[in-house]
């Protein structure tokens, strides 16, 4: 069980940048990817903003055959494919293979099929035109659509698993891939997650009154984690992907090593002790973080940076409090903490993987990205931790160990510990 697992490739489709160079530039410079969506105003949504990647659909022809492209309608699948295949080539490997790659598997998560694309199915069936649906619906409607397209393109022959744990999905996928390599089942795992918040999913969140509604005329200022004026999150879409490899396997092929995954934990608060379908049980969260540290052999003091979940709801304060208790660090002693959601909104299932890509880039390039829109920090948060721990400008510093966590509906938690590769 002495295997070490490293990250050898990254890919990202983010609202504020597609591809690693654009995304790195965006997170270093605090560039927002939140846009006004006129259609949402027409639909009487309270929140009319979204983090929507500037994704060119036709560009998918660079990744998949024309035959596969023809009839592909699932936006989540498109995002996932682009991020996954970018990560693969970033890792220095070609797409083509005749034999299945038995040593490589895939854990890729998502929430739901593209319901806008599925609307066609509903209309056809209701109009008694089921014969016209064709053969390409099921593969895109099934929850494993994203993993099926990715693994098919690359010939992945090890475990191919689709996970779903609401907003904890991405982090959980990375942890699952890590565990499969750690336990010797696979040498390499393509991990990540995708999300396309279509109109119907968006509307369902809007109706819960958990979205920001007071900044519709200032899109880039609307996602305000940890601030007094944080009034809900902004839904975002996209995908993040990582190539995880057994260290020896990666070294044998002289792969570039971005970082090491030291360990992690995924648990649930059981929807008990204050936890509900939509709220985290703090005891479960603290346990998750502590277990992640223990499995990584890292002490709380070693954490340089926290990449928080921090969605810009009233749960932010409780999250910071949970971190202070889990790490037993507060005030000036608290690690530098940021929320990528200030720039891209909350990408739900894709949040964990896009944010982990950001965390790894911070290790690779030795910086801590800013929290944008934190002009008015919530005093309930700054009573717990120093305002200097919540950077509003990029900080260049030594970043050795990052704790990355996400918490999701269903009271599920995931936390991973990432380290500079030494």
């Amino acid at each position: 069980m002495s295997r070490r697992i490293v990250v050898t490739g990254l890919g990202v489709v983010s609202p504020n940048g597609i591809g690693i160079p654009a995304f790195l530039h965006a997170i270093q410079n605090g560039i927002s990817g939140i846009k006004f969506m006129p259609h949402y105003r027409e639909l009487n949504f309270s929140c009319q903003l979204a983090g929507m990647p500037d994704f060119e659909w036709e560009g998918l022809k660079n990744y998949i055959s024309d035959v596969t492209f023809h009839g592909l309608k699932g936006t989540n699948i498109g995002y996932g494919l682009a991020a996954a295949l970018d990560a693969w080539s970033d890792s220095g490997m070609g797409y083509e293979t005749d034999e299945p790659r038995w040593e490589t598997g895939c854990v890729f998560g998502n929430s739901i099929a593209d319901t806008e694309a599925m609307k066609n199915v509903i209309n056809r069936v209701d109009n008694k035109e089921v014969k016209k649906l064709g053969s390409r619906v099921v593969e895109q409607a099934m929850n494993s659509g994203v993993t099926s397209y990715i693994s098919g393109r690359l010939g992945l022959g090890n475990k191919v698993i689709t996970n779903s744990a609401a907003c904890a999905t991405g982090t959980q996928a990375i942890l699952m891939g890590y565990e499969y390599i750690k336990h010797g089942y696979a040498k390499r795992m393509l991990v990540g997650s995708a999300e396309h918040v279509d109109t119907y999913v968006y509307g369902s969140f809007d109706s819960m009154r958990v979205l920001s509604r007071k900044f519709n005329d200032q899109p880039e200022q609307a996602s305000r984690p940890m601030s007094s004026t944080a009034g809900g999150f902004i839904p975002g879409s996209g995908a993040g992907a990582l190539i995880l490899e057994d260290l020896d396997f990666a070294l044998q092929r002289n792969a570039k090593i971005y970082a090491e995954v030291l360990g992690g934990s995924s648990n649930s608060g059981g929807q008990r002790l204050g936890g509900t379908m939509t709220a985290a049980n703090s005891t479960g969260v603290i346990r998750c973080i502590d277990e992640a540290l223990a499995s990584s052999g890292v002490s709380p003091r070693q954490i340089d940076t926290i990449s928080g979940h921090l969605t810009a709801t009233n749960a932010d304060k409780q999250e910071i409090q949970n971190w202070t208790q889990a790490l037993n660090r507060e005030g000036d002693d608290f690690p530098l903490t940021n929320s990528l959601k200030s720039m891209i909104g909350h990408c739900l299932s894709a949040a964990g993987s896009i944010e982990t890509v950001a965390a790894i880039l911070q290790i690779e390039h030795q910086f801590v990205h800013p929290n944008i829109n934190l002009e008015d920090p919530n005093p309930e948060i700054t009573n717990l931790v120093s305002i200097d721990c919540l950077p509003v400008k990029m900080i260049k510093k030594e970043v050795n160990i990052v704790a990355k966590a996400n918490f999701g509906f269903g009271d599920v938690n995931s936390c991973i510990i990432l380290s500079k590769y030494n």
Binding site: S65, V67, G71, R136
Partner: protein, 85 residues
């Protein structure tokens, strides 16, 4: 509509589904859709749906099962076209 005319149009119907684009130009009655044109068998359904729309005909499930090569495909379309007249 003659067999040749249908053949020319059918190439356009097959085009999005074949990975063997080089072969498409020279197809004959004997060209097998799956073995020669490398069309995924699941996509035959989509070709039938596209052909139905193109020729404004209806191809029932039992007739569709007879489609093996380009020739049987043309036979079926001619039969349906004539029947609908």
């Amino acid at each position: 509509m003659t067999r040749t005319e249908i053949l020319i149009e059918l190439k356009k119907v097959f085009a999005p589904y074949t990975t063997n684009k080089e072969m498409l130009d020279g197809i004959t009655d004997e060209t097998d859709l799956i073995k020669d044109l490398k069309i995924n068998s699941a996509n035959l359904v989509d070709i039938i749906i596209d052909a139905e729309a193109k020729y404004d005909i209806e191809i029932d499930y039992d007739s569709a099962d007879k489609i093996i090569n380009v020739g049987t495909c043309i036979d079926l379309i001619m039969e349906k076209l004539n029947h609908d007249k």
